[in-house]
Structures are given as C-alpha cells and as structure tokens.
C-alpha cells in the first residue's frame, strides 16, 4: 500500500526532472509527496535526511578538490601543468583528452571519490580543453567517464564499505580493483583516440618532444608537478588523509599563486565565489538524493525487488545479468554507497550460493554502481560535471553514447570473465 505512494513520488520526481525544474528541487518534490502521504513519519524528518546526506567528512573532499581546481586556474598552476601535458602528449591525437583520462587514474591512487575527481577536472581541465578546440560536451563526457576510474584504483571508499559489509578482505578488494581500473583506463584512452581522430582533434606536433625542449617543459612546470608528489607522498607517509589532501592542495596552489604573482585579491575572491556556488549546487543534489534514497530504503523497495530476483532466477549467468540490469537501474536513483549498504547483504550471499567468487561479485557490483552515477535521470557524476562545465544534459547524453557502449562492454567482460577481477588477486595472494 505504501508502495503506491513511493510510485507516485517517483513519478512526480521524474515529471519535474524532465520539465526543467532544477534537479535537486525535483528530487525534493518527490520526497515531499511521500512525507505528505505518510502520516506515521513526522514531516520535519525530511529536512533531517537532506542535511544528513551532507554531514559527512569524506564528502568534504568535494569542496576541497573543487577549490583546488579553481585556485589552480587562477594561480597559473593549471596553465603550466597543461603546457607540460601538451608537450608530452602533443604528438597524440586528442592529447589533452588522454591527459584527462590518465590524470583520473593517477588521482585514483590517492582519492576514493569520483565526484571530487570529476569536480576538480571539470574546473581545471575542461576550460583548457575547450580553449584548445575540443567541444564542451566531449570534454565533459571524458571528464565524467574517466572519473569512474578513481574509485576502482585503490584506495576507494566503495571497496572499504563493501568489504566491511560483506566480510571480504579489503586488501584483496583493493588489489582486485586495479584490473578493472586499468581495463577501463586503457579502453577509454583507445576510445578517446578513435573519437579524436574522427573529430579532427589533431596532434599539435609531429613527434614526442625530447632533449632540451623536454627539460625546458619540465622546468616551467616543476613547482606545479610537485603537487601530486606532495599529495601522494603525504598520504603514503600517513601525514594526511585523502580528504585532508584537498586542503593541502588548496594551500599549495595559493602559495604558488603568490610565487607566480598571477593571482590578486580580486581573483582570489572570484575563486572563492566559484567554489561556493559549485559546491552548493553539487552538494544540495547529494543531500536531496540521500533523502529520496532513505524513502526507498524505508519502504524496502530495493529489498523487495531483490527478493523477487532471488526467488525467480536459478541460473548463475542469468542471475548475474539480472543483477546488472537491476543495479544499473538502482544506481540511476540511489547514490552508490547508499545502495551498497542496503543491497550487498541481500545479494552477496545469493551470489555465493551460485558459486560466484566473492571478489568477482564485488567488482561487478561496484562497477555497476559506477555506471549508474553516470546515467540519467539521477546520475550524480553527470550532474556534477555538467553543473560545473555548463554543458546541457541533452548534449551530454548524446555525446556519451559511445562511452556508454564502452562501459557496457567492460561490464560484460567483468561479468563473464572473472579473470579481470581475480587475476591480480590470485597472483599476489
């Protein structure tokens, strides 16, 4: 009986969403329908759920890395990094797009948050790409898709959560993530190269630079290039957590702004304003989405559908396929980590009963959640990127089609070939 209320909520949400109502308001409106029609829940709880979705220390990485991206632009750090990146990749077609993908893989080594990665690169890389002639929608899609790599490469919040819920070694999950992470990185680079050739994003030079020119390129960028060294070093030495690394990056890029004398007070204030409006527009969607996820959980919607799948499917591969379809659908409406908390305890034991390796299943699960974050109607990665780059959602989705195809191909490889998840783990353990 409550299910019909939830159905109505979802309907209102979707209707408003496609009628150009701001995303967070659409989601809030859906939640509102539920609270008005559910007298047993005191209505002020709705406000609590929105705030609770934001009150999380790991999410602080988002404003930090947004700000780091912003201040790198104003302080002249981005410019130098880009000059360097272009010098190195200038001979490739779509060089900057390749940089975009590689940088996410690199960032993956220090942060577990795909949203923070997408936010920073949308601020820092996309304007630079657009200046060099890439289309805004292509740059946005590359940024959003490659951000999916970040949580796959250790460390990743998703794996820590999965490991502690499903009683799987987190260390092994970390290792297992490298396979899919590298698979995705390489195939994305191939796709980007292919698309760039077709679009005519030509190489800016004939051969890779070498000798004096290379030394000069490094010389110009040496201070900015110290940033990843400081961040990775700082995390590895246990000086700061990945979340705190964002604040270190901000302080460092502000310092460089002083060194280069490229940033004045006016730029600083402008950067602050950009940081705040971007952070607010991202986080308020996260908050609204977590309120809606709470409703679905409280009404046991994902639980009920899981029970249905489990009791109606008796073939291992059919089960995996159903899980794929279901998880992508869930990922479209519920943030990945929230969905994981509810669904892992229900699905993991069933997967085990079908004889699916626990780490293999974990990777399939985590990859599915990542795809959901990229898909309409409620893909958070998509909104974060488009919110910052001002790319229209319709343009984004059109541009993303080949990328979706690639992601599904990767998902199928992961689903049907356990070697991608288990290969490294078996090698090491």
């Amino acid at each position: 009986m409550e299910i019909s209320v939830v159905g109505l909520s979802a309907l209102v949400l979707l209707l408003l969403l496609f009628l150009k109502v701001p995303v967070f308001v659409s989601v809030l409106a859906g939640s509102l329908i539920y609270f008005i029609n559910t007298p047993s829940v005191p209505p002020q709880i709705i406000a609590q759920r929105v705030i609770a979705g934001i009150e999380s220390i790991p999410l602080l990485a988002i404003p930090f890395f947004v700000a780091a991206g912003v201040f790198m632009n104003y302080s002249g750090v981005s410019k130098r990094v880009m000059q360097f990146a272009e010098a190195i990749t200038g001979h490739m077609s779509g060089g900057l797009a390749q940089v975009n993908v590689l940088l996410s893989a690199l960032m993956g080594g220090l942060s577990g948050s795909n949203l923070a990665d997408a936010a920073m690169q949308s601020k820092m890389l996309v304007p630079e790409m657009v200046r060099k002639g890439y289309s805004n929608e292509f740059s946005s899609v590359v940024t959003a898709t490659s951000a999916m790599v970040t949580p796959l490469i250790p460390p990743g919040i998703a794996m820590i959560l999965y490991g502690s819920i499903a009683n799987v070694s987190i260390g092994r999950l970390f290792i297992a993530g490298i396979g899919p992470g590298v698979l995705l990185t390489i195939s994305l680079m191939m796709l980007v190269s292919f698309l760039s050739k077709r679009r005519g994003y030509k190489p800016v030079r004939e051969k890779m630079i070498a000798g004096n020119e290379l030394t000069k390129a490094i010389g110009v960028a040496v201070l900015p290039l110290m940033l990843p060294v400081i961040i990775i070093g700082g995390i590895r030495l246990g000086i700061f957590t990945p979340t705190e690394a964002g604040s270190v990056a901000i302080v460092y890029s502000l310092m460089l702004g002083v060194v280069y004398r490229e940033m004045n007070l006016r730029d600083f204030l402008k950067g602050l304003k950009e940081t705040i409006t971007s952070t607010a527009s991202i986080m308020i969607i996260v908050g609204a989405a977590s309120a809606f996820a709470w409703i679905l959980t409280r009404e046991r919607v994902p639980q009920t559908i899981t029970e249905f799948i489990v009791s109606n499917v008796d073939n291992k591969y059919l089960f995996l396929m159903m899980v794929n379809v279901f998880l992508i659908a869930v990922g479209m409406f519920i943030e990945g980590n929230a969905a994981m908390i509810v669904l892992v305890p229900l699905l993991a034991p069933v997967a085990a009963a079908y004889g699916i390796h626990e780490i293999h299943f974990a990777m399939v699960f985590i990859f599915n959640m990542a795809i959901g974050a990229l898909s309409p109607p409620m893909g958070t990665l998509m909104f974060v990127t488009c919110g910052i780059t001002r790319c229209r959602i319709s343009d984004f989705i059109r541009e993303a089609v080949p990328f979706y195809i690639l992601l599904f191909t990767c998902l199928m490889l992961l689903t049907f070939f356990p070697i991608f998840s288990l290969g490294l783990v078996n090698l090491i353990y």
Binding site: S40, I57, I157, S164, T297, P345
Partner: protein, 325 residues
C-alpha cells in the same frame, strides 16, 4: 518452539481489528547483517510478532540504513515509531550527564557488576531522568562486548600507549578515557579508519572484537591488546511520545521480548567473541594479555577530571560503585 511460527501465522491471518492495523515499529542500528546484535534484533522482531499475535510488527534496518544513531534519536523525539541502540555516552549528551559514567574506563570489574547496576535504584532514577528528556529505555541487558584495542605496534603496558594516535568515537567520555592513559585520542569516521591505519595516519583503534574483525582492520594493524577498557552493555530506546501511544499490554510485550532477545544476544555475543579471537590468531594477529590492574590504576584520574566532576552529581563515582554491590 516448533509450534510458534504456525501460531503467529494464524494470528496474522485472523480477521480481528487488531490484525487489520498492526503497530509497525522501525528498528535501526549500525551493525551489519549477521553480527550478533543483528541476529538478536531479528529474534526480537520474531518474538514480538508472536507474543502480540501479529498485533505488533518490527521492521529491521541494519547498517545505519535509517540514519546515524543521533539522527534516529532526533526522529523519535519528533514522534517517529523508531527504536535504536544507544548507550550512556549518548545519554550524557542528551541531557542526563550522570549516565555517561557507565562508559567510563574500567568502571565495571566484571560483567556481573554491570548487570547488577542496571537493576539498581540509581539506574532506575537515571532512566526516569531520560524519560523526562523524551527517551524511553526498553531494554538494558544487551551485551555489546568488551572494548579492546587494535594497534600497529604492540601495546603491552600503559607506557606503550604514550602518544599513540588511537581512533575513538567522537564523544568527550571516550576521548578523555584514552587521554588519561597517555594516548592521543583521534576522533574519526569509522569509514576512514582502514586507509588511515594502512598509511599510518593513526596508530590504532578500539571497539568490541566482532566490530574490529568485520572492519578488517587487522589486515593493516597486527597487535590486539585485550584492554577491555569498557564493558559495553547497550540499551534500546524509543521516544516516550510514541511509547505512550501504545497500550499497557503492548508496552509490556515490547519490553519483555526485548529482554528475552537480550539474553539471546548475550549468548551469541560470547560465542562471536570467542570465534573472532580465534580468527584473529589464525590470521596472524598477536593477541596481548595486558595487566588490567595497571591500566585501571592509570585510568583512575578520569573520575576526578574537572570536565566531568563539574557536570556530574557529587560523589557519583562512589554512588555508582555502591549501586553495583
């Protein structure tokens, strides 16, 4: 009993007015499915439905699905029909400062002392004070476990703890409880602890054994000191606002099944503690038996810290010690 499920089924299916509109309660907690608390809650739900003849139903939400402990407490204060698991440290922050002392370091020499305390007049008084704050304790006989310390370098004596960054939950009682032992208590979200331990941002954490094991922290911290600094019994609460809407009979069903499930929980908890201890050993963790008396003596100053004596009733420590006789 084997007859029980059939009985509850027939009661649920009966066409009585009570069966038509059962009281539905949501119960939310942090523990993951399969942990002793989770299994015992499910047992509670089963017992309650059976005892009430389908008149009362409990929906179970593990893994903080309904929100954090504080969020659920706010929900019940707003009138929601929710139950959650909380303990003295929380009640201290909810307007009953004396309650916090049950979370003080080494306050209970044995579990029996804890069980005697919850039967005492002092405990009843505190529970009544909590009711004035809108929170009703339903059941107090749940053993959450002895809290032990898992670290990256061995802790054999109090002096080994000197300057070590130990992750503690974010409340004054647990922070000060480790500070008096010479450690540098570091509040941190549990989700960040694994990588922080791995990279050495922190040196250790404390919790009951099953929680330490399920978080997989022993993959990155190999020394387990059986400090048992807190005998963590835990309680289930709901809002008085909701509780008062129940009939006397319903109230009684809810509380007595809660206590029965508590005994069920305690058996599971003891088994789980033993099992996890063995698992730790099997997986290469060095288990260290520390001299509890040495630790307890070092922690004694806790009870005269001005942070607490200024908000506690006078002579609280002595009162509590007497109440557990």
């Amino acid at each position: 009993s084997p007859a029980a499920p059939a009985e509850s089924e027939s009661a649920g299916g009966a066409d009585t007015p009570a069966a038509a509109a059962p009281v539905v309660i949501q119960i939310g907690y942090e523990n993951h499915p399969g942990e002793p608390v989770d299994l015992a809650v499910n047992e509670w739900a089963r017992l309650l439905e059976e005892r009430s003849g389908g008149n009362m139903k409990m929906e179970v939400f593990p893994s903080s699905q309904l929100g954090s402990k504080n969020d659920i407490i706010d929900q019940m204060l707003a009138g929601s029909s929710v139950i959650t698991l909380a303990d003295g440290a929380f009640y201290a922050d909810r307007g009953v400062p004396d309650f916090g002392i049950v979370f003080g370091p080494f306050i209970f020499p044995s579990w029996d002392d804890a069980w005697r305390l919850i039967e005492s007049d002092w405990y009843a008084e505190q529970s009544a004070l909590l009711e004035d704050q809108g929170l009703k304790i339903l059941s107090s006989n749940w053993k959450y476990g002895d809290r032990h310390t898992l670290t990256k370098s061995p802790v054999r004596t109090v002096s080994d703890l000197q300057g070590m960054k130990i992750r503690v939950p974010n409340n004054t009682i647990q922070i000060k409880g480790f500070e008096v032992l010479g450690a540098a208590p570091t509040p941190m979200a549990l989700g960040e602890v694994y990588t922080s331990l791995q990279q050495g941002t922190i040196d250790g954490l404390e919790n009951p054994l099953p929680v330490l094991y399920n978080g997989k922290f022993h993959e990155v911290a190999k020394y387990l000191s059986l400090t048992g600094h807190v005998r963590n019994f835990t309680t289930w609460i709901t809002g008085t606002q909701f509780f008062n809407t129940l009939t006397a009979e319903q109230q009684q069903w809810l509380m007595e099944t809660g206590n029965e499930a508590g005994f069920f929980n305690n058996e599971l908890a003891d088994e789980a503690t033993e099992e996890t201890l063995q698992l730790f050993i099997d997986e290469g963790v060095e288990v260290i038996e520390v001299d509890i008396d040495e630790f307890a003596a070092a922690a004694e100053v806790f009870y005269s810290l001005p942070e607490f004596t200024s908000i506690w009733s006078e002579g609280l420590y002595e009162t509590v010690k007497e109440a557990m006789q």
